[in-house]
Symmetry: C3
Subunit: 442 residues, 3 copies
C-alpha cells in the first residue's frame, strides 16, 4: 500500500484536459475496474469491523458485551470522521521529512476539479474518494484491537479518548513512515498490508493499556489463572468468518488495483495461511492442553491471517502455509505466556495481532530473498516501540487526569448495566444470575 | 435511479445487429463493468434484508423474534415474485400519464431476443436481468420496514396481505412518479436512492398500521412509557452493520453504472453520514437522557444512512456529515416524541425511516443549490400522504374483513409459539420465564 | 463449470510472449473483469461456509453447537489445504481416461512462469490462482453438509477422518467425471454449478453416515418421532441468508466469466427459485401440518437454491419458479419421510441437499429441450450411487477401526463439554438445565 512511492511511478493517466477526454482514452476501462475493486475492497474491510465487534463481544462475558459493541461502533465512526479531518493527510502528507508530516485538514483535494479528482493530479488507478475510503476503513482497526484487550474493566470515556487519539494521530504517523513514503520505505522495509503497521500497532497499544489497567477481578486470584470464558462461541465464530471474508479485501485491496496476477495470488496465500493457522492451532492445543478448544481454533485462523498480511503478495503459496502454521502455534503459546505473566487480555488480541503481526513481518525477511531480515526487524521494532511508548504515556496521562478503570462495583455488576443502562439479553435469566454470582464473590 | 429518464439519454450501445458485434465493440468492457457492479450491488441490497431481519428481531422480545423473521422472509420472497409478475412494469411502465401506468405482466422483455436483452432495445449499461434483480431487491424494503413497526401484536395473515399489496402495488406507483419518469421527475424533484421513495414510504405505511393496530399491552400502562427492551443487542448490531454494508450497494448501485467518479463519491458521503449519525445520536442520548444507550447509537447509524440516501451523489462530504448528524439528533427526538404520543413502534422504524427519510429528501433542497427546497417538500409530502392514506385505507379494510390484531392471550404468550409453534431459543430457561411473567401480569 | 471442455475452446489469450504484451492487448480489460468476478465469487462461496456453520449450529441443540462449528472450521481449512495438495489435480487432471486421473501434487503450475500463470498456457479468462481458489471454496461444501447430518452423536476424530477423505478424494473424482471433462460430460450430462456434483454428493454421503451411525438417543423413542428443536432460530436465519448471498457467487461464478448476459440471467433464476422454494414450503407446512414452521420455511429457501443450481443458466425464469416451488414442496415431504424411516438427520441436510439436488438435476432434463432426461438420470444416479457406496464403505471401515459414535454419557452431556471442554453460552442457565434434564431422562 505504498501510495506515495507508487504515485511517482504511475502516471499513465495524467495529462487529460477534461474528464470526457480521459473517459474516451484506451486506459479508462482498466481505471474503472481498478477503482471498482478498491471500492468493493473498502466494503470488505468495513465488514471486518462487524467481525471485530462480534468476536470481541462473543469472547467476553455477557454482562460486558454491549460495552464492547458500543466501543467498537464509536471508534469506527469517530475513526472515519477524524481520518477525513486529519488522519489521511498525516499518513499521506506528500513530500515530508520521513518521520512526521501534515498535508492539511480534510482529504486534501479540490473536489471542484473533476479531472484531478479522477487521476491526473493524483497518479493512481483510482479516484481520491476511493483511496480515502479504503484507507479510512483501515484506520479504525488498530483502536478496535485495543478495545478487545481492555474489555471488562476500562472506563468508557477513557477508552474513547485514547482510541480517538490512537486512530487520528499515532496510527497515521507510523503509517506515514512506510506507506506515506517515509524513512522505513526508504530503508527497504516491506509490510504489504499491515502485519506491523496495522495489527502489531493495535496489539502493542493494547499491551500498554493492559499493563496500566491491570487484570480483571478474579482472573489471577489465589495464584492461579482462572478462565473467564466468553459468553457466545457462535457469535465469536460469526466474527472470525467475517474477518476472514473481509481480509480478502484487506489484503486483496492493498494491491491498489485489480491487477489479475497479484490480486488472485494474494487471495490464495491469504486463504492458505488462514487454513494452516487453524489446523496448527488445533494440533497445538491438542498436544499442549489435551483439548480441542474452539476459541483457540478460531484464534488460529486470525493468527494465520495476521501473519500472512505483511507478505501476501511476495511469499510463495508453500511458504504461506508455513507462515500461517507457525502463527497458529505461536498464538497458542503467546496466549499461555501472557496468562502466566498475569497480563489479562480477555480476547487474546495482543497475541493474535501483536505477536503474530511481528512474526508475519519478520517472515518476509526469512522467506523472500529480496528482503532483509535485519531491515524487517528494525522496521517492526521501531513501529511497535514507538507505538508502545506513546500509548503508555497517553494512557498514563488519561489515568492521571480522569482515571482509566471502573470501580469494583461497576466491574462486578458489568459495564453494560453500569455504563449504558442496557442488558445484552434482558430476557435470559442466566445473565442476572451471573452478575449476582460475580457480585457475591467479590 | 431515474431509469426512464436516462433511457432517453444513453443510447451508445444501440444499433448492434448481433450480440457478437456488440461484444466486439469498444464499449463492451465498460458495459461489462457497469453490469457487474449492478449485480454486486443487487447482492449487497439483498444482504440488507438479513440486516432488517436481524435488527428487527434483536430489538423485539424473544417470544416474538421468530415471528419477525418469518414475516421478513415471507415479504422478501413474495416481494421479489410479485415484482417480477407486476411490480417492475408498474414502476417502469414506459410512456405513461405520469401518475399510473402498467407495461404488462412479467418483466417486459422478449428473452429470446439476445441483442435486445443486452442493450440495444433497452439503452442502459446493464442487461434487463441486472436491472430487474437490482430493482427487485429494493422492492421488499418498504414492507420490511412496516414489519418492524407492527411487531408483537399483528396477525400474521393480515400482515402478509398488507405487505404483499404494499410491495406489489403501492410502492411501485409512487416509485413510477419519480424513477419511472412520472410527474415528480418532470417537476424537478430529486431522490437519488430513495430516502422518500423507499424509506419514508415504509415508515409512513408503518405509521398508518400502528395507528390502526394500537400499542402492545403494557407499553403505556398507568400513564407511563414502559420500556420493553429488545432481546439481543448483539443480534441487532449484526443487523445494523449488515445494513450499512448493504447500503454501499443501495446507494452505490443507484448510480446505475460503475462510473468511477460518482460511485466512489457516493461511498464517501454514505460512510460519513452514517458515522456522523452515530456520534450525534450518542451525544444526544447523553445530553437528553444522561445515558449512552446502545440501541439508540445503532439507530443513529441507520438515521444517517437514511438521511444521506436522497442526495448521496450531489451533497458535499462536509454537508453529508451535517445531514447525518442532524438525522442522528432527529431520530432520538422522534423516538421520544412518538413514545409520548403513545405511538408504539417497537424498533423505532417510523423515526429512522419515516422522519429521517423526509429529512434527507428536504436536505437536498437545503444543501444543493440546483434543487428547490419547495419542490423537494412537494414531492416528499405527495409520496408520504399518498402512501399513508392508501395504507390506512387498506389496513382498515383488512381489519374489517379478518382483523389485524392477535388476542390478548396470544400476545402474552408470544407470537412465536402461538403463530408458528416455534421458540427462538427453546433451551434457554429465561424465555419461558418471560412468557410466564408477562402472562401473569396481564 | 466445465473447465476442461472450455479450455479447448477458448484460446484467444494464448500466444503472448510477455505479460506486458498481454496486458497491452485489447482483450486485457475483459480478462481483468472476468478474473475479478471469479475472485469476488470465491469470496461469496467462502461466506457460504459461515452460512453452513450458522444454520447447522442453530438447528442443533445448544450443547452440541460448538462441536458443529468446530467440525465445519476444521473441514473448511483441511479441505482447502488438501485441495491444494491433491484435490485440484484429481478434479482437473487434464487428459485422462474419464473415470480417474491425477495431474500431480500441488495446483499444477509453474508459478515462476508469469505469462503462463496468466493465461496462455491455461486458456481461460482467469489466472490459475483464481481458478484454484474458486474451486477450493467449493470443495469443502460436500463434507460440511455431512457435518450437519451426523451432528449430536458422531465422534469428532472419526468425522475428521471421513470428511478429509471425502473432500480430498471422493468429491474430486465424481467432479472430474463432469467438470474435468470425464465420461459424464462426454455423455451430454449437464450440471451447471453442482446440484448433483456438490449438493447431492454431500447429501448422499451424509445418508450413508447416518445409516451407520444411527439416530440420536430419544429421537425415535416409544415408537414416536420426537422433535428435538434447534437451539437458535435467529442463528439459523443468519446462516440461510448468508447461504443465499453466497449462492449468487456459487452460481454466478460458475459462469466462469463476467459475461453480462449469462451472469445476470443466473442471478435472476437463482433468486426466483429461492423465493418460490420459501413460499411453497410455507404453503406445504400449512396444508400438511397446519403450522407455519420457521425452520421449514428457511429450508424451503435452501431447497429452491439447491434445485436451481444444476440449470441456473439454461432454465427460463418461469421454469425457475417451478423448479424452486417443487423443491420447496419436496423438502417438506422428504424431511417427513426420513423421519418416518427413522433416519435421523438433525438439520434436514439429506432432504435439502440430497433430494433437492437430484430433483434440480433431473429438472434440467424436463425443462430444457436440448438436455435428455434419461442422461440426467444416468448421471445423477451414477454420482450418488458411487458416493453412497464409497462413503458407506469408508465410514464402516472407520467404525471398525476406531468407532464412529460417542458414548451415551457423552451424548447426554453434549459434545461441546465432552469433546472440546467448551460451552457455547456458559452464562445462560438454560443450557446446564438442558444437559441435566437430558441426562436424567437417559
Amino acid at each position: 500500500m505504498a501510495i506515495a512511492v507508487e504515485t511517482a511511478e504511475i502516471s499513465q493517466n495524467d495529462g487529460f484536459a477534461t474528464v470526457e477526454e480521459f473517459m474516451a482514452s484506451p486506459g479508462f476501462p482498466k481505471f474503472m475496474i481498478d477503482n471498482l475493486w478498491i471500492l468493493i475492497a473498502a466494503g470488505l474491510v468495513f465488514i471486518m469491523h462487524l467481525g471485530f465487534a462480534s468476536v470481541e463481544s462473543g469472547l467476553t462475558q455477557a454482562k460486558n458485551s454491549v460495552n464492547v459493541i458500543y466501543k467498537n461502533v464509536f471508534i469506527l465512526c469517530m475513526g472515519i470522521l477524524t481520518y477525513a479531518f486529519v488522519g489521511f493527510q498525516i499518513m499521506y502528507p506528500g513530500d515530508f521529512n520521513g518521520f512526521f508530516g501534515f498535508g492539511g485538514f480534510g482529504i486534501g483535494f479540490d473536489a471542484s476539479d473533476p479531472v484531478g479528482m479522477l487521476t491526473s493530479g493524483y497518479g493512481m488507478d483510482m479516484t481520491i474518494w476511493s483511496d480515502f475510503i479504503f484507507q479510512a476503513m483501515f484506520a479504525a482497526t488498530a483502536a478496535t484491537i485495543v478495545s478487545g484487550c481492555v474489555t471488562g474493566r476500562v472506563k468508557l470515556i477513557s477508552f474513547m479518548l485514547f482510541g480517538t487519539i490512537l486512530v487520528s494521530l499515532i496510527y497515521p504517523i507510523t503509517g506515514s513512515w512506510q506507506w506515506g513514503g517515509g524513512w522505513l520505505s526508504e530503508l527497504g522495509f516491506y509490510d504489504f498490508a499491515g502485519s506491523t503497521l496495522v495489527h502489531a500497532v493495535g496489539g502493542f497499544a493494547g499491551l500498554a493499556c493492559v499493563l496500566i489497567l491491570g487484570a480483571r477481578k478474579g482472573k489471577f486470584d489465589s495464584g492461579r489463572v482462572n478462565i473467564i470464558p466468553g459468553h457466545s462461541i457462535p457469535l465469536a465464530t460469526v466474527g472470525v468468518f467475517l474477518l476472514w471474508f473481509g481480509w480478502f479485501g484487506f489484503n486483496g485491496g492493498s494491491v491498489l488495483s485489480a491487477d489479475p496476477a497479484t490480486v488472485s495470488y494474494v487471495f490464495v496465500t491469504t486463504a492458505l495461511a488462514a487454513c494452516a493457522g487453524a489446523i496448527a492451532s488445533m494440533l497445538t492445543t491438542q498436544v499442549v492442553f489435551r483439548s480441542l478448544d474452539a476459541p483457540m481454533a478460531l484464534n488460529g485462523i486470525l493468527a494465520g491471517l495476521v501473519g500472512i498480511t505483511a507478505g501476501a503478495d511476495v511469499i510463495s503459496p508453500l511458504a504461506a502455509v508455513a507462515v500461517g502454521a507457525i502463527a497458529g502455534v505461536l498464538v497458542v503459546l503467546a496466549i499461555t505466556f501472557f496468562d502466566r505473566m498475569k497480563v489479562d487480555d480477555p480476547v487474546g488480541a495482543i497475541s493474535v495481532h501483536g505477536i503474530c503481526g511481528v512474526w508475519g513481518t519478520l517472515a518476509v525477511g526469512l522467506f523472500v530473498p529480496q528482503y532483509s531480515f535485519f531491515t524487517q526487524l528494525i522496521g517492526t521494532l521501531s513501529v511497535i516501540t514507538f507505538t508502545f511508548i506513546l500509548s503508555y504515556a497517553l494512557f498514563s496521562l488519561i489515568k492521571f487526569a480522569i482515571g482509566v478503570r471502573v470501580t469494583d462495583g461497576v466491574e462486578a455488576a458489568g459495564l453494560d448495566i453500569s455504563e449504558h443502562g442496557n442488558s445484552a439479553y434482558p430476557y435470559f435469566a442466566g445473565i442476572e444470575t451471573e452478575a449476582a454470582a460475580t457480585a457475591d464473590k467479590s
